[in-house]
């Protein structure tokens, strides 16, 4: 029995809330992504960073897309990293910043939502999900102060509103609800500028997917840490669409079609679609 982890004894007796991360915090704190140790030397530039994520609402839902590049300083550390995660049937999150912490956070957050749903027999409200993520980001603040910053973008279909909603965060937590569209990461400035011109209210999911891909392309165009679509290696951005039917990650060949039509257009107009001035 001595080899049993300590939490084994708490499985039947824990009477706390329905939060999984709280259970871990009390009975198995070493499993939480947040740590309070201070680093001997700053590692900010040496570990992989995830870059640009965009999200925009569409008719009856929301679209999120992310590029595939991770960088360590000036090195491209991974070309096909996945930064958009399904968190439950009606929500997803994208991460920017320290990749390792972000991946772990996304994994924990998914369990957190599921744990509540299974124990309580109902899903968390969309606000509840957004608040929960804020608390988890805040828990990472000591790490963020040492350079291990991770910032998520959260998108969900809200059955109560019958539409998509987007929440952004900073290192201290949040959430900040965003209207229409938002982006995070190193290329976010360029992506947001692009989306500002391409976003149409109540556009179809297909149109919004295309707008998001254009925004990612513009971000990759001007930000060295954001990767464009890799035609040679056939590495496409990750695109997720959430509607009343649930979360759906577009399969690679479907994204490839969108990307190819976009690239074809950019062959003749490298700066992308031009918004009408008058």
């Amino acid at each position: 029995m001595a080899s049993q982890p300590a939490w084994m004894n708490s499985l039947f007796t824990h009477t706390g809330s329905s939060s999984f991360s709280e259970f871990l915090g009390v009975h198995a704190p070493s499993l939480l992504p947040a740590r309070n140790e201070s680093l001997a030397a700053p590692v900010g530039d040496e570990i992989p960073h995830a870059t640009t994520i965009v999200a925009a609402t569409c008719a009856g839902g929301v679209v999120m897309a992310g590029d595939r590049r991770a960088t360590s300083g000036n090195i491209i550390s991974q070309r096909d990293i996945e930064k958009v995660f399904r968190t439950d049937d009606y929500s997803c999150m994208g991460i920017a910043g320290t990749a390792s912490t972000g991946l772990e956070l996304a994994r924990l957050y998914r369990v957190e939502l599921e744990h509540y749903e299974k124990t309580e027999g109902r899903s968390l409200s969309t606000e509840g999900k957004a608040h929960r993520l804020a608390t988890m980001i805040r828990g990472n603040l000591p790490m963020a102060m040492q350079g291990l910053v991770v910032v998520p973008l959260f998108a969900a279909y809200d059955p109560a509103h019958e539409g998509g909603r987007i929440f952004s965060y900073d290192v201290g937590g949040g959430p900040y609800e965003q209207r229409e569209f938002h982006s995070i990461g190193s290329g976010s400035i360029f992506a947001r500028g692009s989306l500002k011109k391409l976003y149409r209210e109540n556009a179809s999911p297909q149109d919004i997917v295309l707008a998001c891909l254009h925004a990612l392309y513009d971000a990759a165009d001007d930000d060295s840490a954001t990767g464009g679509p890799d035609v040679m290696r056939k590495i496409w951005p990750i695109v997720a669409v959430i509607t009343a039917d649930g979360y759906r990650r577009l399969p690679d060949d479907e994204v490839a079609e969108f990307v190819e039509s976009m690239l074809e257009r950019r062959m003749t107009a490298p700066e992308g679609p031009i918004a009408p001035l008058r």
Partner: protein
């Protein structure tokens, strides 16, 4: 119950009393059926409550069904969810298995049975759906921590033997969902009795064709449609079922006798008066 005043009770007597106490509590509820069908595993429980479930999701491929005292099996259910989530988070989602969970429950129930004054009045099923029907697993765990690796189907609670006997007559490998539901419902209904309407039953499946989480609770219009389909399949399957019943008569009679031996004619000497709280207001 542990030690009658002043006297000595042998360990055998204590265990026998505890087992009898638990068995009586469990037999007072209604039965729950867990069985394989073509695409996975089906759970059916008569339960008028919409909120207090007897069937629940534990993890991606694992479902849980219980009978007996609600507060007791609810605490087991929550512990199972914690166990699965913490293991899946520590290792990988595929590393959470029904076998591990069944062992956890068996350990805990066994400990309660030997160490506590009152044993848990519950019987539970842990079912795991695999990639193929051969990989499906159904474990039945009783109040004393015994684990049974069931093949194809399991019935717990209430008149489990009689229901199990009726289910065996109708059960075949690889039944489509409507037929499987029909078999489960006819097993749960006493001969000549009326079937419970959609509002009085709790139905869920572990469907291996689903993505991510295989557990799906069937409610509302979806369940009603399925019940319609079950009724249709019942009419077409009738002649075959009747032929089977004739063959199975001897077996059934045996089952009834066994049950008669077990069920006492008088009120239980030690169990509390009145109905057990199953959480569904039966």
């Amino acid at each position: 119950m542990s030690i009658p005043f002043g006297g000595y009770a042998s360990p055998e007597q204590i265990m026998r009393d505890r087992a009898e106490y638990a068995r009586k509590g469990i037999a007072r509820g209604r039965s729950v059926v867990v069985m394989q069908y073509a695409d996975g595993i089906l759970f059916v429980a008569p339960n008028p409550s919409k909120a207090l479930h007897k069937i629940s999701e534990i993890y991606d491929r694992i479902g849980f069904a219980a009978v007996g005292r609600y507060n007791e099996f609810e605490s087991l259910r929550l512990a199972g969810i914690r166990y699965a989530d913490i293991n899946g988070y520590t290792f990988n989602r595929t590393d959470v298995t029904g076998r591990g969970l069944a062992n956890l429950y068996a350990q805990h129930l066994g400990m309660i049975f030997t160490e506590s004054i009152k044993s848990f009045e519950v019987e539970i099923v842990v079912a795991e759906v695999g990639e193929a029907p051969e990989d499906d697993q159904i474990y039945r765990i009783t109040f004393d921590g015994s684990v049974f690796d069931e093949q194809g189907m399991a019935v717990i609670g209430g008149q489990a033997e009689a229901v199990g006997g009726r289910l065996k007559e109708r059960y075949r490998e690889g039944l489509p969902l409507p037929q499987a539901l029909d078999a489960a419902l006819s097993a749960l209904t006493e001969p000549g009795g009326e079937r419970p309407p959609a509002t009085q039953i709790e139905v869920a499946v572990l469907d291996r064709s689903r993505e991510h989480r295989k557990f799906l609770r069937l409610t509302g219009p979806r369940l009603e449609k399925l019940l319609e389909a079950a009724k249709e399949s019942q009419e077409s399957a009738k002649p075959a079922a009747e032929a089977q019943t004739e063959q199975g008569n001897g077996e059934q009679a045996q089952g009834e006798r066994a049950q008669g031996e077990q069920a006492p004619g008088t009120a239980p000497p030690i169990a509390p008066e009145g109905d057990i709280d199953t959480g569904s207001g039966e």
